[in-house]
Amino acid sequence: MHQIDRIKIAKRIVQELKQGQVVNLGVGIPTLIPDYLGEKKLVLQSENGLLGMGPTPSAEKVNMDLISASKAPITMEIGASLFDSSNSFAMIRGGHIDVAVLGVLQVDQTGEIANWAVPGQTILGVGGAMDLVAGANKIIVATVHSSKNGEPKLVKELTFPSSGNRKADLVVSEHAVFKFEDGTMKLVEILSDIRIEELIEITGADFEYNSEITNA
């Protein structure tokens, strides 16, 4: 998978985020988002206990007791606050996070997400994935269109274990943006020079589209 695709996805998701929103960024592509915000300011929540996460510090200011959920050193923005894990997840589960941007293994055509376990492999980590899926007010999925093995990541039905019943709102890949409405996946925008026939072919999930989008 090309970094240029990952950056493209991150930049497109930035357009969906509004000034001042409280946002939790998952691992993978979502961690690229802070580099492409431009003038937009978000309030980033880190589930290990910080609201108001800032950029990476210079080497001399690193404190490994001020880290992100990915365990990398970070800084705090003005107005930041610190709290314990139970409070952090009350914030997440209780609907106080505006948007969670999540990487996934698969998302199905209803918006159900699999982002914690691969069948046949050891399942020894879930972290905060299920809490974010259950609790964030809006879920945006950031994913490349196909896996390393060329398998579609947007699928009819999950073959990987579900992260919960709660559905995603939007998925952004290097080729397209889709939204989920009433259990149906709908094409919102094509982001590459791919033809609609090709997009249908490389997308495992069924989706609705109209000619205004495909001719754009």
Partner: protein, 228 residues
């Protein structure tokens, strides 16, 4: 009661087979001195409740390598390949709990609450065998509270009463774990006179803390290293 102990002294409060609640997120806010002492002791068959098992050969990873652990309960063990291997080899039992459910279960354990209904993990493998209940139209699962025999936590500063303040995100699970065991031992970087901590800024009131041990680690270039 004098709460300050030498690092060797706290071991007498831990028994074979105990369930230990251990603070920390990755290596941040981890009681490294207390872990070293347990690794050097004859203790065995311990269960650890902690978000992770440190990293290979670091933090709680040391207890794993020293074969002190029978079981680990937490949310994310994948970052320690030794834990994965021990599980594959059948040497370590693992119970996986979503991170927010883990934090809340321990909070309840310390707050006299037997369990709680959460929407996290509804419809997933981690909800299998758990009671499902519909409340005001939404599905929840029952999660039971978690309590321990001994909590090993890490704070930045303590006074002699045992009031604690933490260093940034080193706080993580430590305040809830300070509430949920019969015996609570806090490793701290610094011990100050009573009255020096601003009451408005104390995170863990001393009533929760039984003993204090001064850390044998010092921070260099932002990372804790052994001082002796």
């Amino acid at each position: 009661m004098e709460k300050l102990l030498e690092k060797e002294e706290f071991i007498k409060f831990v028994k074979d087979g105990d369930k230990l609640l251990v603070g920390g997120f990755g290596m941040s806010g981890t009681p490294l001195t207390l872990i070293d002492e347990i690794a050097a002791s004859s203790l065995k068959n311990l269960t650890v409740v902690s978000n992770n098992l440190g990293e290979p050969g670091k933090g709680l990873g040391i207890l794993l390598n020293e074969k002190k652990l029978n079981k680990a309960i937490g949310s994310y063990f994948t970052t320690n390949r030794d834990a994965v291997q021990a599980w594959v080899d059948g040497e370590l039992e693992i119970e996986l709990i979503p991170q927010g459910t883990l934090a809340e279960a321990v909070r309840c354990g310390g707050a006299g609450i037997g369990g709680f209904y959460t929407k996290t993990a509804v419809g997933t493998k981690l909800a299998e065998g758990k009671e499902v209940r519909v409340i005001e139209g939404e599905r929840f699962i029952l999660e039971k509270a978690i309590k321990g025999d001994v909590s090993l936590i890490k704070a930045h500063k303590a006074d002699h009463l045992g009031n604690l303040v933490y260093d940034h995100t080193g706080r993580n699970f430590n305040p809830v774990m300070a509430t949920a065991s019969k015996v609570v031992i806090a490793e701290v970087d610094e011990i100050v006179k009573n009255g020096e901590l601003n009451p408005s800024e104390i995170v863990t009131p001393h009533v929760y803390v039984d003993y204090i041990v001064k850390s044998h680690y010092v921070k260099k270039a932002g990372v804790f290293v052994a001082s002796d």
